[in-house]
């Protein structure tokens, strides 16, 4: 290897290390026996996980976060898939502009979104409710689903849909029997990303969650402002593990898809 190439690869290796270390460093620290988070930990223990599991407040917050993440991911996937299908169907300029509207939730700074949702909920009485939390996270998850499904639809051959409909199948049946199975990996990716987005969402939750419906991230953020409690290291590890799992599932679903395409080509 030429020296210039060696330097380049070495630099990139270091950057990647810098990128990954802060993500994984919390894991060993969460198994520390000490109150003060030092590295390496003086000795290993699971006391912070036990503290997390024993705390009713943390458990309630976890339940709220998981419920809201599952519900909003499912709803965002249904709404987002329908929207992506419509966007793909239409070539009109008006509809293209509507597409920009659907991307707004990722463009608008999250604090402004949070304030806005807070105002709406204060007026309609949705503050500190599960319905309110789910709706807000459906909105935030929509861009992920729409993007992901649109990518899938662009790869899909529309002639197949036409054939199916010319053979007398109606639009709805065609969608479920012909289209959906082929774009399934994109839909699943969208679903998983919407799930993670809702599970990790913090800023909107700071404004609209509360009382019985306080999310895990809100509780973590509030606790962090006061002190560095090692219980949060344990919870962070669990959240990170969930993210890793989800990314792996997405990769797996994408790989199965390309494997199937290859198999189809061979047949």
């Amino acid at each position: 290897m030429k020296p210039s190439k060696l330097i380049l690869n070495g630099t990139v290796g270091l950057i990647l290390l810098w990128l990954i270390i802060p993500v994984v460093i919390v894991m060993p620290m969460s198994f520390s026996s000490a109150r003060f988070l030092s590295f390496p930990p003086p000795s290993w223990s699971t006391r912070w996980y036990e503290a997390y599991l024993a705390s009713a407040a943390w458990m309630d917050a976890t339940k709220v976060s998981l419920t809201l993440a599952v519900l909003s991911a499912v709803i965002a996937t249904v709404l987002g898939t329908a929207a992506a299908y419509a966007l793909n169907l239409s070539g009109s300029k008006l509809v293209r502009n509507l597409q920009v509207l659907l991307f707004l939730p990722v463009v608008v700074p999250i604090i402004i979104t949070a304030v806005g949702v807070f105002v709406v909920y204060a007026n309609v009485g949705l503050l500190a409710t599960m319905t309110g939390l789910v709706l807000a996270n459906v909105m935030l998850g929509l861009p992920y689903v729409v993007t992901s499904v649109l990518v899938g639809l662009r790869k899909f051959d529309p002639a197949q849909e036409m054939v199916s409909r010319s053979l007398g199948m109606n639009r709805l049946r065609t969608f479920f029997i012909v289209v959906l199975p082929q774009i399934r990996p994109s839909v699943i990716s969208g679903l998983l990303f919407a799930f993670i987005s809702a599970l990790d969402e913090t800023v909107v939750a700071l404004f609209i969650s509360g009382g019985e419906n306080q999310t895990l991230t809100k509780r973590m953020f509030t606790a962090l402002r006061d002190e560095i409690d090692p219980t949060i290291a344990a919870i962070s590890t669990l959240l990170t593990a969930t993210s890793f799992l989800v990314v792996m599932l997405v990769a797996l679903s994408a790989r199965n898809d390309s494997a199937r395409v290859v198999a189809d080509d061979d047949a």
Binding site: L19, I25, A86, L104, V115, V119, D200, T202, A233
Partner: protein
């Protein structure tokens, strides 16, 4: 049959198609309109109101109150530094990922995507642990005998910049990689076979062709950094004051809706303005990675 022949069946079909498209889009649009567009309009309206009348007082503060423009200045400075830092770090990563073997590039991309999908809160917390007075970074530097006293890396602007750069790096790498991947390897080969040195080929061929990715990444990172909230709140230690924090303080502490609204409107105009400028060069959808 005069009536039915008056309406062309293809027009009828077209109309049905339009109706279907609207029906499918409606639920998603309603959510976004109800929870985002309507409140944004309300904020814009509120920013001109005080005691039931019209006022420009909330905007006048941008001139009279130095907290306002100092906060905006600090926010833009942080966003700028973060954008330059991510670009410098991301470019070599994306370059190696785009030119490496398939296996290697998947590995590199995995190391970029995993942090991308890890909670911002968790990553900010990790940096808090790493950078604190007796944190890993200080003890490592001390162990190597490089410092006598722990460096103050957190509870200031430096800590905020480090963590924000880390969190936004994937947003730079991914568009860069997407643009670089489209550059045909033959073109580079042609360049060098015509006698160009590798450095020359890079500057004259590769770099210009990667510019759409540079622009997309730059816009995305800059805009996201402008609106950052959690990271400066946790790592800024009260000394780093970004626009988002100004918005939240005005509501949480003072219930100053007029002030919070005018700040939101100005921040939003900055964001939209930047996107608008960028979309004159490359389409919005490409910035968002939809294609």
């Amino acid at each position: 049959m005069a009536i039915s022949s008056a309406v062309d069946p293809s027009v009828l079909h077209e109309r049905r198609e339009q109706r279907l498209i609207l029906m499918l889009l409606a639920p998603a649009l309603l959510v976004v309109i109800g929870l985002l567009i309507v409140p944004l309009c309300w904020l814009a309206w509120q920013s001109f109101r005080q005691d039931g009348g019209f006022t420009l007082a909330h905007y006048a503060r941008f001139v009279s109150d130095d907290v306002y423009w100092r906060t905006f200045l600090q926010t833009f400075r942080i966003a700028f530094v973060v954008t330059v830092a991510t670009l410098l770090l991301a470019y070599p990563v994306a370059y190696v990922a785009a030119s490496a073997s398939r296996r290697m590039s998947i590995l590199i991309l995995a190391m970029v995507i995993l942090p991308f999908w890890t909670s911002v809160l968790v990553r900010s917390y990790a940096w808090l642990i790493l950078l604190q007075r007796r944190g890993l970074v200080n003890s490592a530097l001390d162990g190597m005998g490089l410092i006598d006293q722990p460096l103050i890396l957190v509870n200031n602007e430096l800590g905020t910049v480090i963590a924000t750069t880390h969190i936004l790096l994937p947003f730079m790498v991914l568009p860069l990689y997407a643009a670089m991947q489209k550059i045909p390897a033959d073109l580079m080969m042609a360049g060098s076979s015509l006698g160009g040195s590798p450095a020359h080929v890079f500057w004259r061929v590769f770099l210009p062709l990667s510019l759409p990715g540079v622009l997309a990444g730059t816009v995305l990172v800059f805009v996201l950094a402008l609106g950052f909230y959690i990271t400066p709140e946790l790592l800024g230690g009260g000394r780093t004051y970004m626009v988002s924090m100004l918005v939240s303080r005005n509501i949480e502490l003072y219930s100053e809706w007029g002030a919070a609204s005018s700040i939101s409107v100005v921040l939003l105009l900055c964001v939209f303005g930047i996107f608008r400028l960028a979309s004159m060069i490359i389409p919005f959808e490409r910035i968002m990675g939809a294609r």
